[in-house]
């Protein structure tokens, strides 16, 4: 793999976006795409300089949804930030919960009971399935397939959100994990219902792929567009399906062995070309691998408590120290960095947002392509503004 070859001489500025010259015919046009643009998934702005239809400069502008989540968390107790993590990436609240719980557990050296570990894996993988399905739906929507693929994805997402609601009481703002386990024990009926939904997922993936993967329009619009080199992807800290779409084998579930992922058999899908199509394909294949993990986890899930009975809940004051914990969230590496000074609030609370950092290379991918492709390239990054701006 080329990216690991550190001996190759690097030209100065190799990791900077290239300078594209205008062809000199006609005037340049400066356009602010966003913050209220249907393709920007929320309030995000790209300041684009256009030479005709070609993009020669692109600067992302953030902060429209900034609410200083980190400052608020530093003024609240550790547990009080848990519901707030739901609002970061509101498509994947359970992954956010897990990342935060994992970091705090690292900080205090807290273990998690077996059943809770299984539940965490089940919920995180259900989250991944619905997130990837909706991402693909949005991508197709931006390609002009107005609504229909998205509705197919949302039909399945609805079933998964119903499961979340049945377990946690909320469809999107789940607030389910705790330091040392999970909040409520699922009933046998809930597990049966989950098994039923999971049994239906392979059919959904097949149907989705039958309509999309070999679709001529999709191939024409995505293949060879928005190519991301693997060495740049690594250097720019890109993670998640975007990184693996560029062919870099790095999945934190496999690397960090967090939770109980070592017990499950699953593969890490990789792309070859690093274009939009590869990112699409990696997501589809990850849905299939997640279904595999879900089937294994639902078969093996043991009984027992969902919360460590020795876990400290009231008067929770970790000893002074720091910890950085991270998980493979559907959008990439989601990390929480905590510093404790022994008080009831974290001294420093930092979210490592995959959505923001994956946008570092947006300009590199978009330069030289057409405006219509910028929309697709941006859609293939898969961001949620609640996490970008925090």
């Amino acid at each position: 793999m080329g990216f690991a070859d550190t001996k190759t001489a690097r030209v100065d500025g190799w990791n900077r976006p290239p300078v594209i010259e205008a062809d000199g015919e006609g005037e340049l046009l400066e356009v602010a795409m966003g913050p209220h643009h249907p393709s920007t998934h929320g309030v995000f702005r790209m300041d684009v300089v256009l030479d005709g239809e070609r993009v020669i400069k692109l600067k992302p502008v953030f902060g429209y949804l900034h609410r200083n989540h980190e400052k608020i968390a530093e003024k609240a107790s550790y547990l009080a930030s848990m519901p707030y993590t739901d609002r970061l990436d509101y498509f994947c609240s359970l992954s956010n919960n897990w990342a935060y719980a994992l970091s705090v557990e690292k900080l205090v050296g807290q273990g998690v009971p077996e059943r809770a570990e299984y539940l965490r894996v089940i919920l995180a993988e259900l989250t991944r399935v619905q997130n990837h399905a909706s991402t693909i739906g949005f991508l197709l929507q931006e390609m002009g397939a107005s609504g229909t693929p998205l509705m197919y994805a949302f039909r399945e997402r609805e079933k998964i959100l119903d499961l979340f609601e049945g377990l946690t009481g909320s469809r999107m703002m789940c607030n389910y994990m705790r330091f040392g386990g999970c909040r409520v024990d699922p009933s046998a009926a809930w597990l049966d219902q989950t098994r039923k939904v999971v049994a239906g997922l392979p059919g959904f993936a097949d149907e989705f792929e039958r309509f999309l993967t070999e679709n001529e329009i999709l191939m024409a619009r995505t293949q060879g567009i928005g190519v991301l080199r693997p060495d740049l992807a690594v250097n720019a800290g890109v993670t998640g399906p975007m990184l693996r779409g560029s062919g870099v084998n790095y999945d934190i579930r496999k690397v960090d062995h967090y939770g109980i992922y070592d017990r499950f058999k699953f593969r890490v899908p990789l792309g070859d070309h690093g274009d939009i199509f590869d990112r699409y394909m990696v997501r589809v294949l990850e849905i299939r691998e997640s279904i595999g993990i879900l089937e294994q986890a639902l078969k093996e899930i043991p009984g027992g408590p969902v919360m460590d009975p020795k876990a400290k809940i009231r008067n929770f004051r970790p000893k002074a120290g720091e910890a950085y914990g991270r998980i493979e969230a559907p959008k990439g590496e989601l990390g929480f960095y905590l510093i404790s000074d022994g008080g009831p609030n974290p001294y420093r609370y930092r979210v490592r947002p995959p959505s923001l950092i994956n946008l570092t290379v947006l300009e590199d991918m978009c330069l030289g392509s057409n405006v219509a492709d910028v929309v697709l390239i941006f859609g293939s990054v898969d961001i949620v503004l609640g996490e970008v701006d925090r």
Binding site: N68, K106, L107, G237, Y250, E322, Y347
Partner: protein, 226 residues
Amino acid sequence: MKTVEEIKAAIEAAVPGAGVTIVPDPSPSGQHSLLVAHELAVKVAEFLRDDTELALDFLSNVTGVDWLDKEISEKVKVARPVTKTVDGVEQTVEETVEETRKRVVPGCLETVYHLYSMAKKHGPVVLRMRTANRTDQVEMPSLTPVWRSAEFQEREVFDLYGIVFKGHPDLRRILMWDEFKDHPMRRDYVEPDDYEYEPTAHDEVLARAKAHKETGNRDQGTGITG
């Protein structure tokens, strides 16, 4: 994966005079970090990235921490002459007395870098850099030329903490708007009374109207002349 001590030794062998100190982490996570001096920080970063054994090609997380000036009061034993009357004769005797002394540890701004290796699949290695103080010497070398992923994250640290990164290609505010004055993530940041307040052209009119209301002179309230 090498221990922090081994990494420190490797850095010092490769970059002489790098000035690396280990900052131990007492928590169960045991993520000890390396405090790097400013002068050769970029060289150290390039070594960490390009060394075949460490190969820390992936900079995951960049963040700032604000350490306020800390006042420490400690008890010190001091010898002090005391006048005493012993057997009717006044004498000066040396006695050890406990005294509480206060000492101020100056605060600083700090950036923390979490490094991983995608090629070797290990990590994290934690780098730290500290500024001299919190007020006027808040500069620090940027590691963006080494790892591109620092680009937005260092901008965020600049925005929210006010650390100025030397050598950053595009150091602007990222989350707050350009006209914003303070750095909200600092510990001593004072929140404004009105978050929505912005000076507008209408302010003059409001001030004039208020003055008229106080004087009761309503004829000139329109402000239209000529």
